[in-house]
Amino acid sequence: MKSNLGLVFFPAFDWMISPTHPERQERLLYTRDQLLEEGLFDLEQIREYKPQLAEISDLQRVHIGIPAISRLITPAHLVSAGGCITAADSVMSGEVKRSFALVRPPGHHAMRVVHGIRGFCVINIEAIMAAYLRQKYGVRKIAIVDTDVHHGDGTQDIFYHDPDTLYISFHQDGRTLYPGSGFPNEAGSPAALGTNINLPLLPGTGDEGVHRLFDGIIRPILDDFEPEIIINSAGQDNHFSDPLASMSVTAQGYARLADKLKADIAVLEGGYSVEAALPYVNTGIILAMAEMDYSNVIEPDQTGLRRQDDRCNARVDELIRQIGDLWTNRQKLSREALAKCGDTWSRRKNIYYDEEGISEEQVETVHYCKQCNGYLTIQTAAKNTRFGSQSAFIAIVEESTCPVCRQEAYDEALKAKKTAKWQYVFVQDKTKGNIENI
């Protein structure tokens, strides 16, 4: 019998950032206990999978690590990325209807260029999975719906220029929470304008507001985009008991969201109320994804739950209108932006790595081409990394890059090498996951 849900459970009991850090060994201990006690692993609707180990090339389809991604990760990262790949395979092979990679360490704050750990993340496990889906199964249109309370700035960074990846994130307003980004005007670079959707919510927003937002704008956009695969970055820190954020979503709220979203693959992200929320939210999501009754999954202690303020819905309604306009007009807006910028489009970023105190300055340039997807160049310089100050020039191509662009990308890399301004000069082949040291 085909199971409804493939479940990859990897709690990484031996991985932590530090013993009392939110990302500590026992983060999923109580969740494990709850899932075991409920007997979830015995259900025929759920098929268990063991995570595989990801290859460095899987990581390098997305990331350029400075000096090398292999020097920045721990073995646990290869398991959590590998767990996502296992989850993807279970769905694509037809063994299960959908899957959930309940794994850690998390990934949605990891950007394309990696100098260290930021927002508890080193590599972006959803992005690695998306790249794998494209490479191995030829999937083109992917939607990533990020239900973590923090803006997934890493995922946004990686897919900012990709019109085939729709990234939708709702989160607590960046003016009140890490990482401080995720506003509606961050809508994608000109060729991908409108496919990066940010929905910043007021602190205190609960089940009511989140579902109003989902029904009012997320569902319609998803239906319109028609993705081949929906990925859920299933962070759980919108929960009312989360110690790092100030929202009011319940386990029921999350489970109903999973039920409505019907993601093909969900991946755990944040969520740090390890005792009061995670056991129940995960049970709810698993049951909902397995198409089972989740109506009785209720936190035993709801004393911290507050009804949401009226202003919360007002913000939701404003977002529905504003993003609705953006979505409707996105093609027109994209054409106008492309016409305005000419052959290239650049952005300058200052990126702070909270965990290690690294500050990075980055200039990213998209080179457009009428024959192909063009190519990307990145100049990066970072201070205070574990390797000291380091800098790199990176040119990024893919399999479908036309010969002219490919030549240009290599020329740029060689030119950068000649200036002797950069410690490293790399050319990344995104399709192969190969990084060439120039």
Binding site: F10, F13, D42, V297, P300
Partner: protein, 552 residues
Amino acid sequence: MLLGVDVGGTFTDAVLVNSGMIIKQAKVKTTQEEVLQGILQALDIVLAGSEPSVVSRVVVSSTIVTNALTEGKTEPVFLAVMAGPGMSTKERFPTEPYLADGYVDHRGKIIKSVSVNEKVFAAMSVGKKVAAVSGKFAVRNQKNEQELRIKLKEAGFERIFVGSEISGELNFVRRTNSAYFSAAVYNKFKEFIGQVEDGIRRRGITAQVQILKADGGTIPLAAALEQPVETVFTGPAASVLGIEALDAPAVNAISLDVGGTTTDIAFWSGGFPLLANKGAKIAGYPTAVRAFHMRSIGLGGDSHIRKTAQGFEIGPDRVGPAMAIGGKEPTLSDALIALGCVSFGDVKKAREAMSFLAETDDTVEEIAEKIVLASVTKIEGTIAEMIREWNLQPVYTVNDVIEGTEFVPEKLIGVGGGAPGLIPVLGMKMGLPVEIPAGAMVANAIGAAVSRPTLTATLRVDTTDGYYIIPEAGIREKIQRDFSRSTAEEILSAWLIEQADKWQMKAKNVEVMAYEEFPTIHNYYTTGKIIYLKMQLKPGILHTVTGREVVF
């Protein structure tokens, strides 16, 4: 001397073992209607000429519980469950449960005390004499379960089984089902062991009588009454122990016990049979009953052979005996006899059986070979599934992933009547060497005779909340903050040894099966720790046995 008795589907075997040598053995037909009769018959054969006083221990392995449970010949049980919030309990238990209010959370905190709807309670308990009680997270706090037990006792139930006493491990559904099944077979089991003990005593044997459990350990009859469900599936367990006694493989191996009705497959590593990742399934319901990683498939010497469009289909129904020994329909044994793989019965009749199945101009040998190949292919498929299942052990740490638990067999071991014919063919197909140990014909009884007594218990410490709990013992004690692994081990092994003494089980070798320790953190400060410990009296065999071939 050790006396072992194994009641199988076809034969009841008995064996008398002394200092690792088989002194005497017997094989009689299992008396289906009255199992006891066969047991006593076999006993009389092996004891003939010996003083009853030479017997120092009797171990019985019987299908009585297995048959009662798998055939549903059990009595109605009042099942009282406290599920609290969480997943629906619908269709998860073998009977409609009475849902009482009351809930404990994962840290063992009582969120809701027990309360009972008297009307529903009364209506559902009508006509039931035995009961089972189970609560979610009761292994972290048994108070609600205990209170509900008292309530049931007051309601007049003659025997009440409690989920958290069966196993201290997490899995509320498995504990509930275990308690249910224990209750469902309780009276039948009680009657059976009463008769067995009586019969044995009447033969002048004064030694302790024990019964085999699914995990290959033994337990005194009286102690078995505390948890009858644990004596399910003892036949396969006995077979595994028999192999361990006769010829434990040093390498990763697969053993196959080819009986009349079924073939029991087990995995071996480092000289020991592997225990399953999860408890046994009974009548389709998962339980907390610890058992070997085994599968029993409906394929044996007496399996019916049918011709289908896809080829030959073997079993799962049994028609035996073989036509070669006077049966009416062709069986797998006939194919093996026709090929000369085994030698019993009338070869001519076996060849005749094969020609009944002929359609084209296949020779008798060709037909027999096809049948054997189909059988072997079926076994191979089951082995592949078992390997996937084994490899799916939970991975909680990076090390679990990197180290892996992949099981790669290096050898096949065949026991039971059909093994000499079938297993060499399987070995050829799988490219593995095959061994058929001597004495294999009564391996099960040998296994029963020499198996060790076992007990398992768990202990959980929560220093933040200041308590430890041993669910199997119903113990919950307050503790000081500094509580170490060694203290935990001392407490739990002391309890296990005390239990063993209580039942006069000669307990040795208390070992740690699982240990986990986590700090508890509150607002970035370490507030204490959680320890989980599981220990056991090590199962296995008392000593090895030298087999000898006996012709029946």
